[in-house]
């Protein structure tokens, strides 16, 4: 980064808010997707929206690309720097600004950690529903960027459901408010576009969240099956019975082995494990739980265990939430993917993955949010074996393509980022992507906000679709166009 730019940055954020020494920049060279790395040109740690705005205005003036980042837990390289960029770290903007439990609203800065919101409102009987597995460390700014989900979004919805308004510094340097404390703000729902835009439309500096009343009771049951197919059938039967559990999670044998080695969750060793959580009024949950247990039994579950205390329940969840990290116990390296399929395609998909694993000789561990068809296949490999990493990567992309072929998506909650850019072209056609990028151009005409992410190729904002010209054959009356 040029010295005169660094000087200007220092004037805005102060010496303590600027990082430019190479060894310090190394901290910021990747996010949770650690096999992609790039050093930023400099890092700023602003402490207010005004500082963020001044920094972005500077970037806009000098056409310097910037990438914003919270805790850096993203799994798709969304916070990966681009060469020479300015990285805007928002961890110092971590104040909870306002709590209004009567209206179920909380206003926060983007660097606030997800669980801190729940901790703050728990005494009043509320919680913040989106619960990505990284919630003890990840920030709400990052949750907004990724439209984060989590195990409980089956019932409670994603981050977008729980965000009412944001203050954003646009890549042009303008500060705007989208949405607000009231719902249905007049005008376009630009908030709906910003949530989940992976930092490509600006830097969020304030967020108005909706909090949710904690249900009266929560019950979690574990069921062990002899195959993932039997477990999948139980899931379908639960949904078909008209129930909407708070969460339904599934794990296969490899995942269970890893989790047991890592956190001793006391899971039975089986080929298909289900965790089903119900919440709501006590009488309602009791009645539905009887139904869930019967469905599991009818589908061949040989152990059905209802957590008897909050501690037992927490332990069941600890195993599930630690699943990614636990893979280190059974493999050197792994790639975690995030495909989504219609629930009914699950048995077919599982068979296909078995076949692909056999053909490539690479093991695949599976953890799913089974209720909404969100798969997290983990392709295990060893980077010391020459060529294995690229084969593993290719296999993981093949799985995503298969998800798209089944009518699903390449990402349910991790985002596209850098990692899945190229698969975007498999899921969406050129006009689909072009339309999204037109919106991007309205926000960021110079394409400086988190460039080279999400889309397989950038669209120059000056590109205007030309006036439609009839085909010569049509003019000649030899063909008709519909």
């Amino acid at each position: 980064m040029r010295p005169e730019v660094l000087k200007e940055l220092e004037r805005i954020v102060g010496a303590k808010g600027l990082i430019a020494r190479p060894e310090q920049l190394a901290t910021y060279e990747c996010d949770g997707l650690t096999n992609f790395r790039e050093s930023p040109g400099a890092v700023v740690l602003p402490e207010s929206a005004a500082e963020v705005q001044a920094v972005v205005q500077l970037c806009a003036r000098h056409k310097i690309p910037f990438v914003s980042r919270g805790a850096g837990t993203r799994l798709s390289g969304g916070a990966l720097p681009v060469q020479g960029c300015l990285l805007i770290g928002l961890s110092r903007m971590n104040r909870i600004l306002e709590v209004d439990t009567a209206n179920q609203r909380v206003t926060v800065e983007p660097g606030v950690i997800n669980t801190h919101v729940t901790q703050r409102v728990a005494a009043a009987g509320y919680f913040f529903a989106p619960d990505p597995s990284s919630q003890p460390v990840c920030t709400l700014g990052g949750n907004v960027a990724e439209n984060s989900g989590g195990a409980h979004c089956l019932k409670y919805g994603f981050t977008s459901t729980h965000v009412l308004g944001v203050e954003v510094v646009l890549p042009t340097g303008e500060l705007v408010h989208l949405g607000g404390a009231g719902e249905d703000a007049p005008g376009y729902d630009l908030l709906g576009v910003v949530v989940g835009s992976e930092g490509t439309l600006g830097v969020v500096t304030k967020i108005i969240l909706r909090i949710t009343k904690r249900p009266e009771t929560v019950q979690t049951v574990l069921a062990a099956f002899d195959s993932t197919t039997a477990a999948a059938q139980a899931v379908s039967d639960i949904i078909a019975a008209g129930m909407l559990p708070a969460a339904i999670e599934m794990m296969d044998r490899v995942s269970i082995e890893a989790v047991e080695a890592a956190v001793h969750a006391n899971y039975p060793l089986c080929d298909g494990l289900l965790l089903v959580e119900l919440d709501g009024p006590r009488a309602e949950v009791d009645a539905l739980m009887t139904g869930v247990k019967k469905i599991c039994k009818d589908n061949g579950a040989w152990e059905i265990r209802l957590a008897q205390s909050d501690e037992e329940r927490a332990l069941l969840w600890k195993g599930r939430k630690a699943a990614f990290a636990a893979m280190g116990r059974v493999a050197h390296n792994y790639i975690v993917q995030d495909g989504v399929i219609p629930r009914t395609a699950l048995p077919k998909m599982l068979k296909a993955m078995e076949r692909m694993s056999r053909e490539t000789g690479l093991r695949i561990a599976n953890v799913f949010h089974a209720g909404d068809g969100n798969l997290h296949p983990m392709v295990l490999y060893d980077e010391n074996n020459v060529g294995e990493e690229s084969r593993a990567l290719e296999l993981s992309y093949d799985i995503l393509r298969l998800c798209v072929d089944s009518g699903g998506s390449i990402t349910g909650e991790h985002g596209v980022g850098r990692e899945k850019q190229q698969v975007m072209g498999y899921m969406f056609s050129e006009p689909d992507l072009d339309t999204m990028q037109r919106v991007r151009c309205a926000f960021d005409p110079e394409l400086i906000s988190n460039p080279d992410k999400v889309f397989p190729r950038p669209r120059l904002c000056a590109e205007k679709t030309g006036k439609w010209e009839p085909h010569p054959l049509e003019v000649a009356g030899k063909a008709e166009i519909f």
């Binding site: 989900g149 303008e174 404390a181 576009v193 009488a283 399929i341 990402t411």
Partner: protein, 406 residues
């Protein structure tokens, strides 16, 4: 009207589906491809296009002087109802009731109760972002729409989202289209997530003065009851108000919920009621139409509902209001144009302070031009103009309909 455009449109849909009504061309395409061809032709001719479904909400927003009216009524197929996956893909011209009847055969629904479901179409409801009291439990369209197929002004056909509940690939263009009043693109297909029908439910109406009902409503919101819908209905001027509450669940548990409600409302009178209470907004509109009243949608915080309702009821004009527990009020106001305009301005400044807004849904003849239908949009208006320009640079889609005259 340019003869060339007429010829082109005729070629696209056939003579039968192109009609001249006064100065306007009414065109009824059967497919997304035909919509695309029509928009391309209109864009080339610079002709303003107004899309319409059931035509129930054409008075919302600013009026549009359109040369071409595009009817979606021929596009009403159920494209794919995968009931096991709780999803459905619909063509946008299908009426809301038409879709719900198909889904009900499998005990499912799109959990949204918009107005005039027997006439209003999926596309029109999405474009105006209408929603009813069920929103309390299930959210609004932005929580229920999984994906869309849209056609832009230049004929580009674009899909966003998908058919699965969980999906974060790309921008949520369908959220941008929801509530855009047809000014950014024409919606031709919508994919929804579904919920099981509420087979066992009860509706209760609590009677009392607005302040008591407002505080009962806040207590229900702060409780662990599983309420699906809740609204305060006020007829103003000393008439008793009503708090309608619907709860659903396992048949064995309804009595338990009922007792909780009774405990919360304390000494207030409570009577069992039918599904028709949720048609209160429709009733309000039809009364307002008979007497050419002003109808507004006012957005406020839940804690403001009682005071704003009381304020409207005590003013020097007659009023009726239906307010959903999330703070969305539909109010009909009767009075002379000047008084009403002043009232709207006062309400706007009061609500803007707490992040709310007031939008006019029905403008009486005498008030045309006296107040803006949308009110202040705030800091994001320039950005909204840029989004419009990127997607519809010649501004042919519902020109001027949207907030800020977009």
């Amino acid at each position: 009207m340019a003869a060339k455009l007429i010829t082109k449109l005729q070629k696209i849909v056939g003579e039968k589906y192109l009609q001249h009504v006064g100065e306007q061309l009414h065109v009824s395409p059967a497919t997304t491809d035909e919509v695309s061809a029509i928009l391309r032709a209109a864009n080339d001719a610079g002709a303003v296009v107004m899309p319409t479904g059931g035509g129930t909400k054409l008075g919302w927003g600013n009026p549009v002087a359109a040369q071409v009216v595009l009817h979606t009524s021929r596009m009403k197929k159920v494209l794919e109802h995968t009931w096991q996956d709780l999803t459905v893909c619909m063509q946008a011209g299908c009426t809301w009731d038409g879709m719900q009847q198909t889904l009900a055969r499998h005990g499912q629904m799109v959990a949204l109760d918009p107005m005039w479901p027997e006439l209003a179409t999926i596309g029109g409801i999405a474009a105006t972002n209408d929603s009813g009291a069920l929103r309390l439990r299930y959210g609004s369209l932005r929580d229920l729409v999984l994906g869309m197929t849209i056609v832009l002004a230049d004929g580009t056909i674009a899909r966003s989202g998908g058919k699965v509940v969980k999906n974060v690939a790309g921008y949520d263009m369908h959220k941008l289209m929801t509530g855009a009043h047809g000014t950014l693109g024409i919606i031709t297909e919508v994919n929804f997530r579904l919920h099981p029908l509420e087979k066992h439910a009860e509706q209760w109406s609590v009677l009392g003065d607005v302040a008591a009902l407002g505080s009962a409503m806040l207590k229900v919101l702060d409780s662990t009851m599983q309420v699906s819908a809740m609204q305060i209905v006020s007829s103003g001027m000393g008439q008793p108000a009503r708090l309608d509450v619907r709860f659903a669940g396992h048949p064995d548990c309804l009595a338990d919920q009922r007792e909780r409600l009774r405990a919360i409302v304390g000494g207030l009178e409570m009577e069992i009621n039918g599904d028709t209470v949720w048609k209160s907004r429709e009733k309000l509109f039809s009364r307002a139409a008979q007497r050419d009243a002003l109808v507004i949608k006012a957005v406020m915080l839940p804690t403001q509902i009682a005071s704003i309702t009381a304020m409207l009821g005590s003013g020097n004009c007659e009023s009726q209001s239906v307010t959903q527990a999330r703070g969305l009020m539909t109010a009909a106001l009767y009075g002379n144009a000047e008084t009403l305009a002043r009232l709207v301005r006062e309400l706007r400044s009061e609500l803007a302070y707490s992040g709310g807004s007031v939008v006019v849904l029905r403008m009486p003849q005498a008030m045309q031009g006296s107040i803006d239908a949308w009110g202040e949009v705030g800091t994001s208006l320039p950005l909204m103009r840029r989004v419009k320009y990127e997607l519809d640079s010649a501004s042919i889609l519902n020109r001027g309909r949207m907030a800020g005259g977009i």
